[in-house]
């Protein structure tokens, strides 16, 4: 689905900056290993860096590396990122922290703040592309020996695109001292990948066999090159044994890819199902328990979504907290609106479901227009907190987005909570009693009018909570409710009215069915097919998947 603009803002950090942060960390890491050079030595090298010809700069970079000074790496990283500046007035180099018109700078050697300078006072140190490439390698090699395993791992991953003889020796050296399992694995993988390309046949076969179970895009690409043909139809790889092994390895990876894509589809289906269940479950209560068709249900979800929006506007700096506050707030607000609808309109229409449908539809139009008048007809975007954005990268081929994952969990939580309320609380007992036999319940002293209001409030409140979840994955706008109302009714009817578990099963199965149909038929046609399927299904079994049995069925 759509990514919110706010999302990308949160997660996107420019590349040089990450590099720069890594540099700051390294300052501490390297200090333990290397002998600091004297300030004067550094000063001399740096002067060559800022002045003189390109070849002198190259020389200076080499010297800087040879000094093995811990201060060297951040300077090189700043140089690569274009943040190493020469002050025109003084004979020294500074590192810029900002990149505005006015730079906040620190001294390159002492790392102390050196005030603000304007663009006229400084000159950037330019590099040729070749030099830049070399510099990148040098930095990578320095990082490969960093103390933090995370930085070493990142360095290994960054260097795997362009592996040459020198790097292979470097990797092999590192492998002898490397302690961290992940880094070791990453280095081994790269070395194995190199072995596939050429050299001893047995080694190549062994490398393929060892790598074929790895879920790595690089391995897959490499294997595919082995099975490629050139324009004349000849294989690029001349050795047929290797080709055959590579092809069978590709087949097994393809099998795994199919499995992963099935897993992904099921996950997407479950998350779509979670949304459907969340939006239908409140309806299942009002429709199933009370026999009331609430066409304004979608608009109650819309109220929940707008509540999230408003709370987020009130506290823009605490996205995470605002979501947690929005859940009870949306519940309360929607429940109050729901109770008002019940007391004001629906209670006069009990036993006339068609009239209830029309009246609540009127309410839904009213609420839609109210939101349009208050918040404008345009869609509002609700930002997603950082822990909910991004995705869970399981391997190169499979990643699951966090927001859908959380919504799935949230849906199950809401469902369990609702079941507990209906099963274990006094209100739940009364609700079930009234649903089974209203007149008998009344005769036993249950205040049915109050129970009706509370039930309707509960169903509406859950719609509000569903709205909070929806605000995280879709546009918040006046039409939010309308988009879901037909779907939610379908889920309730498909699952069997008056059966919450049926709603859950129906929601998830429809979600999964929809996602499996989508690649075959396209999103719109998939939706149409699902709708038509439900219509036909209800023709055959008018009471849904799990029909109510016994006397309650006649009511």
């Amino acid at each position: 689905m759509r990514t919110l603009p706010g999302n990308t803002m949160n997660t996107f950090v420019p590349y040089p900056f990450t590099h720069f942060c890594a540099g700051l960390l390294l300052l501490f890491c390297l200090s333990a290993q290397a002998q600091p050079a004297s300030g004067q030595q550094l000063q001399d090298v740096l002067i060559h860096l800022s002045q003189g010809a390109m070849s002198e700069r190259e020389q200076a970079i080499k010297q800087l590396v040879e000094l093995k000074d811990p201060r060297g790496l951040p300077i090189l990283q700043a140089l690569l990122a274009g943040k190493l500046l020469a002050l025109k007035t003084e004979n020294k180099l500074v590192i810029a922290d900002g990149d505005d018109q006015n730079y906040a700078v620190r001294d390159a050697i002492s790392d102390e703040p050196n005030g603000m300078v304007s663009a006229e006072q400084i000159s950037k140190i330019n590099l040729t592309n070749k030099l830049r490439g070399n510099l990148r390698k040098i930095i990578g090699e320095l990082e490969l020996n960093a103390d933090s395993p995370a930085i070493r791992l990142a360095a290994v991953k960054a260097m795997d695109k362009d592996v040459d003889e020198r790097l292979i020796t470097l990797f092999q050296q590192r492998l002898t001292v490397e302690q961290d399992g992940k880094v070791k694995q990453a280095i081994q993988d790269i070395l194995l990948l190199q072995k596939i390309s050429g050299g001893d046949k047995n080694q190549r076969i062994q490398a393929i066999n060892e790598l074929k179970d790895h879920d790595s895009q690089d391995v897959f690409n490499k294997l595919k090159t082995l099975a490629e043909k050139d324009a004349d139809g000849h294989y690029l790889e001349t050795d047929s044994d290797i080709r055959n092994i590579a092809e069978s390895a590709i087949a097994s990876i393809n099998n795994r890819l199919r499995l992963y894509s099935a897993i992904e589809t099921v996950f997407f289906g479950l998350s779509l199902g979670a949304v459907l269940v969340l939006s239908a479950i409140g309806l299942a209560i009002t429709f199933g328990v009370m026999g009331v068709i609430n066409m304004a249900h979608g608009e109650l979800m819309m109220i929940g979504a707008y509540t999230t929006y408003v709370i987020q506007q009130l506290m823009p700096n605490q996205l995470g907290l605002s979501i947690f506050l929005a859940i009870p707030a949306a519940f309360t607000l929607s429940a109050l609106v729901g109770i008002a609808i019940e007391r004001g309109i629906i209670r006069f229409l009990y036993g006339r479901p068609l009239e209830t449908l029309l009246a609540t539809f009127g309410v839904s139009l009213f609420l839609q227009q109210a939101v349009r008048s208050i918040f404008s007809p345009l869609n509002r975007s609700v930002a997603t907190p950082e822990w909910m954005s991004g995705s869970w990268q399981i391997n190169d081929f499979l990643s699951l987005t966090w927001n859908r994952f959380y919504i799935l969990i949230f849906c199950l939580l809401v469902f369990v909570l609702l079941m507990q309320i209906l099963k274990r609380t006094k209100l739940g007992l009364e609700v079930r009693a009234v649903a089974q036999n209203r007149r008998m319940a009344k005769a036993m002293g249950i205040p049915t009018a109050r129970v009706d209001a509370m039930t309707f409030g509960l169903g509406s409140g859950i719609a509000g909570v569903a709205g909070v979840a929806l605000s995280q994955i879709t546009n918040v706008g006046p039409n939010l409710g309308q988009a879901y109302i037909v779907d939610s009714f379908m889920v309730v009817v498909f699952g069997g009215v008056g059966n919450l578990l049926g709603t859950l099963v129906a929601g998830f199965s429809l979600g999964i069915a929809n996602k499996f149909l989508e690649p075959l038929a396209g999103a719109v046609l998939a939706k149409i097919l699902v709708l038509v399927f439900i219509i036909l299904f209800i023709q055959k079994r008018p009471r849904g998947l799990f029909p109510q049995k016994g006397r309650a069925a006649d009511a």
Partner: protein, 357 residues
């Protein structure tokens, strides 16, 4: 003869028929006989508008037959209207011939635009007016379905059906013009569709169709079939136990109403000059319900009164206060169901009875 005797059964009916006849004969006549600057001359806009109201009245009438007399609250009745409209729209598209923007003699503009090479099979035959008329009636009739499903379930299913059709007709691949629908019509039966004569004739036709449909509906509800249908509305299970095949009666009345809705759609399209998938939107179908509820259901003339009144106020209010229209429509739904279960007609009748007593 029988129709005429039906027409003069009661005062309300004859009053309504007189008004309808007057409107559908007087306005076209005035337009054709007077000069453009005469005070009796109606603008082309007004003529089309009144024609549109008449087709809406016919649509409301057809819903009243299923809802008011058979108790089926169909929330997808607009789908039949739109299907009839599309059938007529396809005929009108085929009449454009080579005069489209791309000048293709065979394919409508949108197909050329989508790079289609030949006309889809379901478009064949639509250059024949008779065939198109047949489709206007048949397409909705075929879609109407027999169902054991009752009450609110049927309402929800019909709503889902029109929603599914809405999604389907939005797809370019369906070959019905996708999002933009069918428009840019030129001729109907060889006459320029923009000309005043044709507009007046269409108004006359709409009025005529409404009157005939009204009389036929009156006749249907007074026959034995009509009585059984009414009985189904009041006590479905009892009628079934008496040995009637309830589904067949329902199907019959549903198909007939769907066909009427199709005719209404077919008359609507040449007058407004466009048909697009938004006609399938569930909101449109719900609006039809409110016309009928507002006018008073189960009376037939109530539906006509309601359709004209609601649509007139819609035209008026969307011009004056565009933001307020949904508030008013929403309010109408609530007020009518809570306070006016018999609609305006019912209210007036009660008033009249009170005066007489």
């Amino acid at each position: 003869m029988k129709l005429i005797s039906l027409a003069s059964q009661d005062k309300t009916t004859s009053a309504l028929l007189t008004v309808l006849l007057l409107v559908s004969i007087f306005i076209p006549l005035c337009n054709l006989l007077t000069a453009a600057d005469s005070p009796l001359h109606f603008s082309a806009y007004t003529v089309s508008l009144i024609g549109k109201y008449l087709t809406f009245a016919l649509l409301g009438l057809s819903l009243d037959l299923v809802w008011g007399y058979c108790g089926i609250l169909a929330l997808g009745h607009g789908a039949f209207f739109a299907l009839g409209g599309y059938a007529m729209g396809m005929y009108l598209m085929r009449q454009i011939g080579a005069r489209g923007v791309y000048g293709d003699p065979l394919l409508p503009d949108f197909m050329v635009f989508l790079n289609w090479k030949e006309l889809p099979w379901y478009w064949f035959g639509f250059n024949n007016f008779g065939f198109a008329l047949l489709m206007v009636v048949l397409a909705p009739g075929v879609l109407a379905f027999r169902s054991r499903v009752t009450g609110v379930y049927l309402s929800i299913i019909t709503q889902a059906l029109t929603y599914a059709l809405l999604l389907a007709f939005f797809r370019n691949e369906m070959g019905f013009g996708g999002n933009n629908g069918l428009t840019d019509f030129k001729d109907i039966l060889g006459y320029n569709i923009q000309s005043e004569t044709v507009r007046s004739m269409l108004l006359l036709l709409s009025g005529g169709a409404l009157i005939v449909a009204f009389l036929v509906c009156r006749w249907i509800v007074s026959t034995k079939l009509g009585r059984v249908v009414t009985a189904i509305r009041d006590q479905e299970s009892r009628v079934r136990f008496l040995g009637y095949r309830v589904e067949m009666f329902k199907l019959w009345i549903f198909v007939f109403a769907a066909m009427l809705a199709g005719v209404a759609g077919a008359l609507y399209v040449p007058q407004v000059g466009i048909i697009n998938p938004s006609e399938f939107s569930p909101l449109n179908s719900l609006e039809i319900v409110i016309w009928v509820a507002m006018g008073g259901r189960g009376t037939l003339y109530g539906a006509i009164v309601g359709a004209v009144l609601v649509n007139y106020s819609k035209t008026l209010l969307t011009g004056l206060l565009p933001d307020a229209w949904l508030f008013i429509l929403g309010g109408l739904f609530i007020v009518v169901t809570l306070l006016l279960p018999d609609g305006i007609v019912g209210l007036l009748q009660r008033k009249l009875k009170g005066q007489m007593a």
